[in-house]
């Protein structure tokens, strides 16, 4: 391993990320016309509970069949059944720290060793003041059994921290997922 090249360090995205990073179609993991699509929205908040208006949220997920259109998936790359499914979402936060992506629920995934991962979405958070991204996961509140068997959720002993990974169902059919970078309500973050 010692013959490996040195990796390029991370630096903060800074406050001017809006020049290039927010794409017009960024929030659309699936096209707006997708019948099963719903919004996941939330706020990015700092250690005082104040909104982070210069952040960027990115999401990455499997398709509803639990497949990826990617050559490194050992099951083979699979074209998603939903036309225009991208798997990737990107939303800058607004002046209230709000972000939103339009998506569909990913399928459960086989894990090495025979376990099953509950449906989840990987999240990267970038912001002015964050020198490297922080990573978290969104889980689904209606997947009670699958969540109970999920190896990543099970690895978090602290019930409060574990609960930060569960999105909250909204009356409009969407989900809410607030991200607290610091403090008493701090979200559970991962080193990937």
């Amino acid at each position: 391993m010692s013959d490996r090249l040195g990796c390029t360090p991370s630096q903060t995205v800074g406050p001017f990320l809006h020049i290039v990073l927010p794409w017009p179609d960024g929030p659309y993991v699936v096209p707006e016309s997708t019948p099963s699509a719903f919004w996941i929205s939330g706020r990015l908040l700092d250690g005082n509970g104040d909104p982070v208006p210069d952040g960027l949220i990115e999401t990455w997920q499997a398709d509803p069949d639990g497949r990826f259109d990617h050559p490194d998936d050992p099951r083979g790359a699979a074209k998603p059944a939903i036309q225009g499914f991208r798997g990737f979402g990107r939303s800058a936060t607004d002046e209230h720290g709000r972000f939103a992506i339009l998506t569909v629920k990913p399928g459960a995934l086989p894990a090495p060793g025979g376990g099953v991962e509950a449906p989840h979405i990987d999240v990267s958070v970038f912001a002015r003041g964050l020198l490297d991204r922080v990573v978290t996961r969104i889980y689904f509140p209606d997947e009670v059994e699958a969540n109970a068997a999920d190896p990543v959720l099970a690895s978090i002993d602290d019930a409060r921290l574990r609960s930060t990974l569960l999105a909250v169902a909204c009356a409009d059919g969407g989900l809410r997922f607030d991200i607290h970078l610091q403090g008493a309500d701090e979200t559970a973050f991962f080193e990937v």
Binding site: L5, F16, R75, A111, E117, L131, S155
Partner: protein, 243 residues
């Protein structure tokens, strides 16, 4: 699926800045206090978005040709390769860049220090790496600019880079600096990378071979993303064995 063998991207020690870097005031209320949990690299982590040509506009690789006239400033060519840390090039991966103009002013609503906007410069670039992982932008050298982190604080000239690689594990946002900048010593963002060798990897190299006579100065900036370890699964695929 009894045998699901996945590539593994070893974690990096001592390369990235600590999120809790108090000299950079913006970190104080934004760095998590809990130690992050270990996320095993499973299917979601070893895959990632493979974004193609559809994201590119005609002049996205040349930031000097996006308006009626040419922007003011020193015209430069920034080129390099995107590799993983095993030395394997990363082809067809999206790079997005953004930067200030020659006077150090960003075309952005929250930048209002008294340096003029250049009507001929947006400061936005995108490209895909080629088969050998190479990329190239034509732009102008950005200026240094003041910020309010501490008294008389100035950011060294830099270009922001955003890279995807091919897996969620490889996602990187960073900044490229210019060689010999006298402002390095006082910049808490540059110096948040504690390891000197790692910090040096953020600095482009002046590249006379890439300098175009009577046209533009050349700078070379290679970007190295985390690589994966060879696994039994990969060994059955002879096509990526290019060492």
């Amino acid at each position: 699926m009894t045998a699901l063998v996945l590539p593994h991207y070893p974690k990096l020690a001592g390369v990235h800045p600590l999120l809790d870097s108090p000299d950079y005031v913006g970190t104080r209320l934004r760095h998590p206090l809990h130690t992050p949990f270990d996320l095993p690299q499973r299917l979601t982590e070893i895959t990632g978005p493979l974004l193609g040509e559809g994201r590119l506009g005609e002049f996205d690789r040349d930031l000097t040709r996006q308006h009626e006239g040419e922007p003011l400033g020193q015209r430069i060519i920034v080129h390099g390769r995107v590799l993983d840390d095993t030395g394997k090039p990363l082809p067809a991966t999206l790079i997005e860049i953004w930067q200030a103009n020659a006077g150090g002013r960003y075309r952005h609503v929250v930048d209002n220090w008294p340096s003029p906007i250049d009507p001929n410069f947006t400061g936005l670039g995108r490209t895909l790496t080629d088969e050998q992982g190479r990329y190239e932008f034509t732009t102008i050298k950005p200026g240094a600019y003041p910020w309010r982190n501490n008294p008389n604080a100035w950011r060294p000239a830099h270009i922001h880079f955003s890279l995807f690689g091919r897996a969620f594990t490889q996602r990187l946002i960073t900044q490229m600096y210019f060689p010999g900048d006298p402002l390095f010593f006082q910049d808490p963002i540059f110096n948040s990378v504690r390891d000197e060798a790692a910090r040096t990897r953020l600095i482009a190299r002046y590249d006379h071979a890439a300098t175009k006579e009577e046209w533009a100065l050349g700078f070379e900036f290679d970007i190295v993303l985390r690589g994966s370890e060879r696994t039994p699964f990969e060994d059955t695929e002879a096509d990526d064995d290019d060492e």
